[in-house]
Symmetry: D2
Subunit: 406 residues, 4 copies
């Protein structure tokens, strides 16, 4: 373990990663660089500076990555209407590639030869951090303390704190919750505690960002989202930057009880786990994006996108953002978004986000053809006969030769 | 047009198909057999008998197909979590293959050489009826009056009625609505009227089966659905036949404002159209089925199902139920459902159907492995290192050779 | 039929299209513009000028499109290792979009309102021409004489010639063959005649470009192909333009009996047909491209390409080159070709094209890791245990719970 | 290491696995059961008995699995036209699930708690053996000596033999070759040695089963293969069992220089490797199966099979034969083979296997429709116009609204 000289740690300022700082210093006899990012988790990041200093850290990186996070990760992902296993909006998955990238960039800047993180050995996040790190710096050493040490319970961690004079108040942060949580601008996730029984409904006071549908306003809220090339650029006509859009939608959505999700999902490491997610803004964005695409995408590219989406979601969920296959899929997806521009009007009400209207200068919807009224010859109904006849030909030949028909 | 001797018509008893009876008799100088089915559209079918008799029809088929419809069409489709273009539950599409099959069976029984239907030349239904008919009886003659005649407006139809003594009250049925509607046990659809502008929200009084979320009960309704091999067999512990399940869920769902959908979709004939759909029971079933699968399906078969689903939905939407590719996909889907058994608890509230719990004797969820607590050695966290290292190997080699990394 | 003023015809100079010139002039009372292109079919195109003049055509377009054809159509297609139904290299399909594009461009230049072609109503080519034309000029009128006229036999055509003073020698071209043929730089196709019985082997004297393997040289020929970004840019070290590459490979391949194919394929119009194809250069290119990709592509992008290829082939075969879905797929394919550069050495011998070697500066093959000898720590075999254990986890959990295992 | 009592070893009788017997006995102080199978590798298996006895083994299993291997593994795989990465016929991959299954069955019979194999830590075979074993017996202990011991060179192995009195002649088997080889009825594989440079052509004397095309007979050999439901059941009219079919085709193919392959492939463990394969019978079977399918499969099921094939190949290559996803894909594939019956006539000549004819009572090829001659009204060419018009509609609408067209 003597070959590590300097390690960049993804540092939250909380108990676990504070213990990791000390443990790395001791175990690897190396310098620790801390990296703390604001990606919209809803906590101050600046306090992490004093804590890191108190732990003897000399190189401290604290950054506001909210705009980059939404612009370069969340937005591209939403262009594909991405959902994992039919339900999950990938809120945790999509934040990891950015953290991995910054860890490696800071390692390169500071001359560090290793990176470290506080993810456990059972979860997806270790995979996402490390695949990203290896893809971006193939010779990097990765230290995953939870896979190495024996501090496998809260009691042992607390004892370690006491032993090493790690201030007690480090433990006060966000861990009052009985749940294992993760938050960023796209969502909060909850795991563990009594969620481990998938038959048990989540307790109301677990949720942080949204009110219960039952206590949401009794009148609907309407909001208009302006799209440009697949991305939202304005809300109710007010231009906004990507992270401002998501922040705003989180507020409106949360106020209307929107975006709660309770699922059992399949982790990349091979087990099923139960998780609850709160994704108010993302839930609105998903539906709205489909609505603007419904007007502006060609049918066949829309269908092909739908066929590719589960693969794309899997790639992101499994941690392969920084991979050739993700870039390949992104190229296909982005190619389709050139005309995905227009306005979607959403109705938000007690847990539901529904589409109330959509319009676009690039619309492919043609009232003069679609109408039930007289279309003045825009469409010749007689064409349908030949269309059906030739599409049926292979079926007719087969039936005529006595093939199974039902 | 003299080569048709007898034609079986899909007859609703309404104005349009009553005109078709007469028009067929006149135009083709042939005998007309009517076929009217109860597939849960919510109207009496027996009155069609007297109307057909009044039009001179001698062979009249009136059938209750509700159980067959749900058991052999709706249920198999829901095993695949089928959605068209991310939104549409295929309520109209899935009813057509059954109608086509019965038209052909009756043609065979009555010695008819042709079938006829009242679908227009712009829509998907003509395709679905006719592909089914040709697949099941390759030499059948199909007569689609809307593609042939010049009765292209309501005025002309009414004039034709008067001319041919078709009783006026035939026109009183379901056509009070300004919308073109279609209903069966799975849904009601609405098209046309002021829906032709996709920016305009549907009027509240258009909807028939569901209350507005705003006027739904202020307290949630919980319901427990028991699955056996992918299909619901009981509600709240009470065993039910397939169509009873769907009827029941339509009532509960509709009472809670669930299942309204407003979309722009891509028709198989090449145009976009705007439609509203009301699918209370189906909306609950879709979410619940995913929930029971989340416990009982293996990850890889679940992901493969998700990749195949858009294709399967397209096959059904486009009218290829009676095709080798549908049977091929169904074989794959059904293979996965052997262990999809258990109970899902759904919460219904003002437009939302959310999963409150799921349990199964065939569950693959393993608390002892998934737990954040000590797992007593059920999972060796050190395995994760090798897992990540080998999964990263191709990325590291590429990065080591200077390939693009971001 | 009086609304057409000027029509651009894809004119080969042969009997059929010469009759079409006259028939269009008579039937539509319109001006005919002829367009004749050299796409490597192996016949002089210049003689078409005099023939067209003799038929009274005033605007005559004769063009050498060989380079554009290979560079912008054949090469992009080969980047995807495209094969239709496991066998067919799409030689006819890939030429049609270029012809359609030029027909429309000439229509725009000459102020024509219609285009016409000599493809029959049973084949794929009519679809490919017309989809291209409609996609590029939505209001264009398409005239397909074979679907309209009653000149349904050679005798009637000859009679028409006599009646209209169409010179007899027009009939002398390429129609000596009992087969329906089509040729361009990528292939010659043969259909009809005694090929209509799929049990009967093609006669030796049908083939035009290749010798029989039995009479090919008794010693192998080796050839080295240099790739840059997925395209061949040099043969045996000599830089060449795309069409020169294909011409050269056709010669070498044909001399060695390479590229004959005899299949039954599924046409887009719904029937099966038997065709023979001669694609000497393309057959070499397909194998060589896979070989250079085997060194330079990442595994996952390679596999994803393989999964998308059948769809891409279908899109081209069915005539949707000028479509959003083709552009979407092309974007994904082209994204992967940035590093597909290097040299492939092919061995050609009596009908077989096999890979004898491949090398690349961008190779991802790493001898130091792949070696069976000591790898000096480049790969830690112990990682494999964790890799396998976690990949097996879902299977173990299922087996532990008594799921079917075989 | 004291917790293993009895281990079943996949024992070839060669040097490596003989050393493993001794090493297991010593290292784990456990009983060793040997399992040796004839899967057509072309060596006597009975001599393994005396060798195992000499090593002190008491429970010795020697079995002829040739028929089961071809019937239950090779044949189902060929129904899918399976090829990995466009080239590889999966000869090694498909034998592993059977070995894994027998290892586990013997473990269950003999009360063994572990299995062991001689595959290295860099290859795919360890994964295939172990995934199979874990899937079939989740609690089994797997011992992979090559990942554990330090006998990492031939010299160390030989020294170990001397030390432990392992008879020298054990080393005489098949290891005279400088290549790492694997053989079964489907193929022989070669890796290592000078193949590690992908630019170097394989030496002629490496190949074992096939003559060089250059020295194959100067006249072609024709062979007729009779298919029933996707499987070959007779050769030249003589009924044969599956393994007899493959043996026969290996002989005929090898005599004609057929089935040599030289590729760079992507291993599941993340690296590229260069391998040569000799698959005479399989190469003939692949082409012939496509030919009989070309007559008997519906177009859409054929295309769907082609889209699923790469995934199916990957599943087998990666070792997931005993998985829900393989069963799911197999269900789809087998559903399509019900009518894949008939006869294919193959021409074999100096390295090429080409289709000379195909016929079937279940043929969907319809000469009366496909003909270039008059079809007596079987197909109405005018239908093509409507077919094209509606297929073009979405493209025309887009073009009409000014969308990008090229």
């Amino acid at each position: 373990m003597s070959d590590v000289k300097k390690v960049v740690l993804a540092y939250s300022g909380g108990l676990d990663t504070s213990v990791i700082v000390k443990w790395l210093q001791e175990t690897y006899d190396c310098e620790v660089v801390t990296f703390t990012a604001d990606i919209g988790q809803g906590e101050e990041v600046e306090p992490a500076r004093a804590k890191a200093q108190a732990l003897g850290v000399k190189e401290i990186y604290i950054e506001d990555l909210r705009e980059e996070f939404v612009r370069d990760y969340v937005y591209p992902m939403f262009r594909a209407n991405t959902i994992y296993e039919g339900e999950y909006l990938l809120g945790t998955s999509i934040a990891r590639p950015l953290i991995a990238k910054r860890l490696i960039e800071i390692a390169n800047q500071t001359g560090a030869d290793a990176i470290s993180h506080g993810a456990t050995g059972k979860g997806n996040d270790q995979v996402r951090f490390e695949l990203g790190a290896y893809a971006l710096k193939p010779g990097v050493k990765v230290i995953a303390p939870w896979r190495e040490w024996d501090l496998t319970s809260r009691e042992k961690l607390m004892a370690y704190c006491q032993q090493h004079d790690i201030p007690v108040d480090f433990t006060s942060q966000k861990k009052k919750s009985p749940y294992s949580m993760d938050a960023n601008l796209l969502h909060i996730s909850y795991e563990g505690g009594n969620l481990e029984d998938p038959w048990v409904e989540a307790e109301e006071d677990m949720w942080r960002w949204s009110v219960a549908p039952e206590v949401a306003p009794d009148t609907p809220t309407y909001v208009e989202l302006t799209y440009d090339k697949g991305d939202i650029v304005a809300i109710d006509g007010v231009p906004m930057r990507p992270h401002e859009v998501l922040e705003k939608l989180n507020h409106i959505g949360g106020d209307n009880g929107i975006g709660r999700l309770d699922i059992v999902e399949n982790r990349y490491v091979g087990m099923k786990s139960r998780g609850c997610y709160e994704t108010p803004g993302g839930t609105i964005m998903l539906r709205a994006h489909r609505a603007i695409e419904s007007l502006t995408l060609d049918r066949e590219e829309a269908h092909l996108k739908d066929e590719l989406m589960p693969k794309y979601a899997e790639v992101i969920y499994n941690g392969y953002w920084w991979s050739p296959e993700r870039r390949m899929l992104q190229a296909a997806i982005d190619e389709t978004q050139k005309n995905v521009s227009g306005v979607v009007r959403m109705k938000l009400y007690k847990g539901s986000a529904t589409v109330a209207g959509r319009k676009s200068d690039a619309s492919l919807f043609d009232e003069s053809i679609a109408t039930f009224e007289d279309d003045a010859g825009a469409y010749d109904q007689k064409d349908a006969e030949g269309f059906i006849k030739l599409n049926a030909l292979r079926l007719r030949i087969a039936a005529g030769k006595g093939r199974q028909q039902d």
